[in-house]
Amino acid sequence: MMRKKMIMVLFSIIVLVSVAMLTFANKSIDKKMSAGNKIAVVYVDGTITGGHGASGLLSESGGTDSLIKQLHEASDDASIKGIVLRINSPGGSSTATEEVGEEIKKIRAKGKPVVTSMGDMAASGGYWLAACTDKIYANPTTLTGSIGVYMPYSNWEELYKKIGIRQEKIKSGVHKDILSNDRPMTEEERVILQTMVDEIYQGFVEVVAEGRHLDIETVKKIADGRVYTGKQAKELGLVDEMGNLYDAIDGTAQMVGIHGKPKIKEYGKNNPFSMLMSTSDKAELLKTLLLNVPAENDVKSVVPMAIPEKW
């Protein structure tokens, strides 16, 4: 009887110790073994917008809040030696882009390199982020550049007259209804907005000049808002190397002195459980397309950043 009990107590102890070692000790062993051997991959997909984006039960995606959080985590993880930013974005809000760009600069200042790998497109705000990194990889056909700023504005005054709509406003200041679509823009308003656009453009040019080690005048010559292919961008000095995501990972590994294949830690990739518990970007996109008629001053998905998403 006693022997049976002893065996089972021993077995229970073995099981509990095994679980404890698997849960706690193994983590520290793993950390020690793989310390400084990892490269993080952080994804920047779609239009860059501020805020939370689409929130699910376990995750949130789409907004720069989650992107900054991922960058923070990668920065704080001692086992990660370098970060690859996989950009596939047409741009977005200037404020959100600037916020992420500043975060990238902070990570670099701590001594952790950040390298960009461009996907199909890294234009405007997408390029702004790329310019904040140490090295840029692009594919020959990647669409990039679009260094510039614009504010979309439509004047629907004539249409309103035809359908008998006349908007009345009670406003606190002369410029409170700036960019109103029911009247023409005044010269004074145009000057105000042009000053804003110029200021943001100047900031963009400075980020590119600083990041790419070019002088301001050279950047201004190529920053007329046009898009470039990856190949053209390399000739202009906007891109360092031609290559895909894995070339960028290998390049980062070499940069930080990892010998052999680095371990890759992907951020923002959903596991099946979080996919089940989170909202779908596609569903959100479909909802947006089907239910929301775009307002006249919405930022279109392929325009450069520099204005808030909605006015």
Binding site: M1, K4, K5, I7, M8, V9, F11, I14, V15, L16, S18, V19, M21, L22, T23, N26, D30, L58, N271, F273, S274, M277
Partner: protein, 196 residues
Amino acid sequence: MSSILETLYDLFAKPKEAFQVIVSEGRLSKACQIVLFSTVISSLATYANVFEGSSKGAIVFAQIVCSILIWGFSVSIWHLLAELIGGRGSVKRLLTAIGFTYFLQLLVVPIYLIANFFPTVGFLLIMIATLIVAVWSIVLGILAICEVYQLSGGKATLVYFLPVLIFVGIFIVMIFTASAFFMSAASDIIANPPQF
């Protein structure tokens, strides 16, 4: 009342005698404790390196809920089938007996630890251990049905596997039905292509 540790030991060494004790005593609360303890420990070991933070908590919780649901659901189905086949016994006692078999899951836990230190053969070790535990669980499940409903080994095996056979049968019928439907629809579309 026998000691729980002795009963669990007998479940490894002398399962038939162990089930006689388990069925005669019918300690359902002990079976619940074993199911919970075994599920929590084995999920912690399984997902030790897979998920972290809140995801791990959620997955362990989901595993516990699933284990309890599967436990209750499979026992109720087996009880129904055993009664239909002519067995006479209590569903509570079958629930208790099957609950005790969950303890077998714990056998794999030390294997996970060993596999963790020998990654090259680790996966194979885990597969072999899981297979052994799975086969042993089936044997214990059949023995439990035998003991609770006083059925022969053949009948108890039939009761154990009948739900699986029914499920596989339904699945095959569904596959054939769906294939037939899609083939019929596809042939209609080929014969009368839509006009735009």
